[in-house]
Subunit: 261 residues, 4 copies
């Protein structure tokens, strides 16, 4: 994913993914002299230099790991966090549904630990910009650190402001709300979106969804869509194919709308 | 989305979206002298020039429409088609899950009508490339026309070849199979992916999934994930919030894997 | 299911099920001289006499049908109706969840067309009783006719009363509400249930569910459970096993509780 | 549910349900001098005598519990078990779908711990009979003990036989298979069902489903239906209504069919 990952083999300085049995992921920098300690034994990182991506790596106790470059999906799933994060099942749909692509200027209200921020920065590309608002400094610091680790922090402007005061930017392509009371700030979105711009939100409860729909209508937003996404995994065994025993039942409802004139 | 959509108002030459009651979408070029005929009356396109995006437009019989720029989601949902297309609920997850972003080189086996091709071309940006294989010329022609309409055809190389003969490209970031017997061609994917590269597929039946998992294992692909995505819409009525009566129950199972060394 | 269905073959007077291609069901009485006219041709009913259940029957135009005794599931699915009915996916769970079995005395608020009434009368057996309230005479008449057709009307007392006035019965095993504003009548349920008795309801909207939970709490009901059931069918093709294309996305939320002292 | 539960208050000898916070259930006999030890303190059972069902009970450390008669649902959910049991979401639908009611003669292949056996014995009533086959004595012993505890063992004939040898009974109303290789025994079901009788099965994997469909067709069973049931719970909080975080993703696929002549 990252600019400096041109080679086909692991090199010092690379951010690497080591995946063990049960798909447990470890994402670390390949620093000289470092070791990775796992329940399945220790990996001496120096021994990974020059190995092709996709190689098998064996710990000192015989535990098998795979060496890979982390994908944006891996990075989101393993993001260091202090808050509930958004999940790829929702993020993937949000990006496509809200037309968030190369060169876009998008605003996020509610940075949290930076999971969606990471995906937005990835999606808008080098020429795009993400404006991420949160009134908690500790959230912004963690998110900045998380983005910095993967070289995407230059695409993001972190905004330590109370959303009550509105957004500074205008003519934005899209705005996403990941805060409890998004319905209280829809008039601010109205001022900052370009004509026909996209608004989205994720809300955990039905009561919030009802209030948000009301607020969107009062602020003349168009084409309100409400939906939810369920992701079910299967055990990948050809002769005994079946879904996993348990699954995530709910992350939140997704609400989408466009700014009317 | 498109480069030439800089202005805040509709201009001749724009590809526009007119959305009527019940969210019925019409996507057309704003050509001088043209009219859009709908069940709710006629819209004289010349009258739209200079209107801001998000404006309400009234037909000669009083039918209300909204004037918008079509998003990538709108374009996929309304794609002129002769085959079953992939749906945004799957495409959004595929793009994120397979790390398909700015500057990527991706290959698609099975162009169909070009729905996924459209999304891939959008996601890889100006510097990326999509190689789309299909052995039916009529599919390629329709997909080319669909991509051309939105200015993305320069990012795509259409390949009128039988996949049996393998792929010409190599060192690709990712390959997606949308063909019935993907399991027969996994060795070709092995030759054309870069180390650790992403492979994905959508398969409608459980029998195909079992066969594909077997083939992936035989070809030493790693970290096989199988899942399915369910999308449920809600009626956006604040005081009577509830899911829609019916929904899509199945499009296909998604399979993801990475190339091992 | 019915007492008079002792024989292994079809006889005059039997209520029969004829199932055609695509599982289209016809439920009729086997009356002398009658014919069943379908899109696939005509069946002369007299020719069915003496045929074993499970036999294939051919229409005058060659259309194949199967001759069966209708099950309680068939009867509910094909119930003549003027209102939205409850579906077996919900009814089956309700019966088990609310412990509605042999000899029970149960009350239903909202007869509708009698789908749940049919299932309740079936479940409580010969010694049980169902009290079914509806203030619309036309509903009670249709439900009575539907129950009568299958010989279960003697187990049901139809009550043409406004629920506002409360229920006459007391010490009931369970009460089910299938009316819009169930939350307005929970105090009546309190008076009519036995200690620890079961209360259930199906509500289409989230707003109703919130109000019902509040009312149950105010009336000291215990152990409130809220859930929903999704039923997905598969195409029964061994070599191409997959879910159907579309499904019912929502019938209603189910709410269960027990009377506290 | 049970015959001897006529009174409105708890008496010695009653099987009781004590439900604590988080809906943790304890099902025990109310024996003189006994105590229930829980994480929330101790309940002296003698103090429950004469209390109405639905009463609140306080442990010695102040923990609140509710005193209730266990329902068939409670009994199944808390069944002492050594095997995976069937769940109410599936059982409720099975009973209704297969027309299993008062006076029926039903056979179950695969007793397991007796969860479905319990539900079948409950559903067929006093005049019905359940024939439950299992070739493991330890399964039959546990199931017998479980049925005996709730007074339903007289309705069940336990059969310590290998299903390979076929079933002794014939003219049965319905047969349910809860064994791995049900597809190997469908010809036995053919001999033992009455004309038009119901066959059902629960199978965890798609591969088993494919094989079962094939076997049903070879044995001229009619109207094959395959489905699965998803049950999602909600947090019952009126002002913050939302689904639970996690849910059961899969128990098994349900297959239904009727015997053709």
């Amino acid at each position: 994913m990252l600019e400096f990952d041109k080679s086909q083999t692991a090199q010092y300085g690379d951010l690497i993914l080591l995946v063990g049995p049960n798909k447990k992921r470890h994402i670390i920098f390949l620093n000289e002299g470092d070791k990775l300690h796992t329940h399945r034994g220790t990996v001496v990182l120096d021994e990974l230099i020059g190995k092709p991506w996709g190689s098998e790596v064996i710990t000192n106790t015989g535990g098998p790991f795979y060496l890979l470059k982390p994908s944006i999906y891996d990075l989101i799933m393993e993001l260091p966090r202090t808050t509930q994060i958004m999940y790829p099942k929702d993020i993937g749909f949000i990006l496509l549904r809200m037309d968030i692509g190369e060169g876009n200027q998008v605003l996020e209200a509610g940075t949290g630990s930076g999971a969606l921020t990471t995906a937005l920065a990835w999606a808008v590309g080098e020429k795009g910009r993400v404006f991420s608002y949160d009134n908690r400094e500790e959230n912004l610091n963690l998110a900045r650190k998380n983005l910095s680790r993967i070289g995407l922090e230059t695409r993001v402007k972190f905004k330590p402001r109370d959303i009550n005061e509105g957004f500074i930017e205008n003519n934005l392509d899209s705005i996403f709300f990941d805060i409890y009371n998004a319905y209280d700030y829809i008039h601010h979105a109205r001022s900052s979106l370009k004509p026909g711009g996209h608004l989205g939100s994720l809300m955990p409860t039905t009561n919030q969804v009802s209030r948000l729909i009301e607020s969107l209508r009062q602020n003349k937003f168009l084409l309100i869509d409400v939906c939810e996404i369920l992701l079910r995994f299967y055990k990948p065994v050809p002769a005994r194919l079946r879904p996993s025993d348990r699954m995530v039942a709910h992350t939140g409802y997704l609400i989408f709308s466009r700014l009317g004139s």
